[in-house]
């Protein structure tokens, strides 16, 4: 049960956070230079966008759930299981964003699910 709650938080809050951050960064625009001042400017511009803060909040929640999981289980078990976010992403895109999920994409999602199942079985 504890395992289920922790992994659900890591996967759902983590994926949601990444989508929000991705959306915010597209609004910021391309980083054209690696000069520290330019990088700082890009970061500051990103921090003014609400989507960035929603994303960061969700990622922070996922982070503490990850710390909890890491205190109990091996790193080489916890991190592969978090790949379930690709499964969540496909269903989330389908349900909330009206994306058409191609057959090839479902194949990838199925492979991830099989891989996570193998990791779980290898943990016994």
């Amino acid at each position: 049960m504890r395992q289920l709650i922790l992994f659900t938080l890591i996967v759902v809050a983590g994926t949601g956070g990444e989508l929000c951050v991705s959306r915010a960064m597209k609004q910021v625009g391309e980083a054209t230079s690696f000069h520290p001042v330019q990088i700082a400017k890009v970061i500051l511009r990103a921090l003014r966008l609400p989507w960035m803060w929603v994303g960061v909040g969700m990622m922070a929640t996922a982070f503490f759930a990850l710390l909890g999981a890491l205190s109990m289980y091996n790193v080489s078990f916890v991190v592969p299981v978090t790949a379930l976010s690709y499964v969540a992403g496909a269903f989330g895109g389908l349900a909330f964003l009206n994306e058409r999920v191609s057959r090839q994409r479902w194949l990838g999602v199925l492979l991830v699910a099989i891989g996570v199942t193998l990791v779980f079985l290898g943990n016994r």
Binding site: K26, I43, A83, L97
Partner: protein
């Protein structure tokens, strides 16, 4: 960006940083959390005590620094490359995390787990190589 275009050097570099810094950060967090042991979250005084113990650990701070490095590289690369291009390229991170936890933490990774991780990498790669846009631009 379409997957057919050649990798630009800055894209390649940023993805290399992501693939190393991300897994390294997770392994360091794992090291720190294992050292702390059981987490007591209730009553609130115990929660505070646990939080203080977590943030007094050097491994946790090194892990956070490594994950921030990952996050900055990720943000930068997402500003010019598509999420669906970066995603398959970063699928190697799942292999790196198993390798690092074996080398740095001495975790025993069973053959079945290695197989599972390989299938996950393949799956993540296949997911990302599909058409990045299926909805009309807003």
């Amino acid at each position: 960006m379409t997957p057919d275009k050649p990798l630009h050097l800055k894209t390649f570099l940023m993805i290399a940083v992501m693939i190393i810094a991300g897994p390294l950060g997770n392994v360091l967090l794992g090291k720190g959390m294992k050292h702390i042991g059981d987490l007591t979250l209730w009553p609130p005084a115990e929660l505070l005590h646990t939080a203080l113990k977590i943030f007094a650990s050097p491994s946790i701070w090194l892990g956070i620094a490594s994950l921030i490095t990952f996050f900055v590289a990720y943000m930068l690369v997402l500003s010019w490359a598509d999420y669906s291009f970066v995603q398959p390229a970063s699928s190697l991170a799942y292999g790196v995390v198993a390798l690092l936890s074996y080398l740095m933490l001495g975790e025993r990774v069973s053959p079945l787990r290695w197989a599972g991780i390989a299938v996950i990498c393949l799956g993540v790669f296949v997911v990302g190589r599909t058409n990045p846009r299926t909805t009309e631009p807003a």
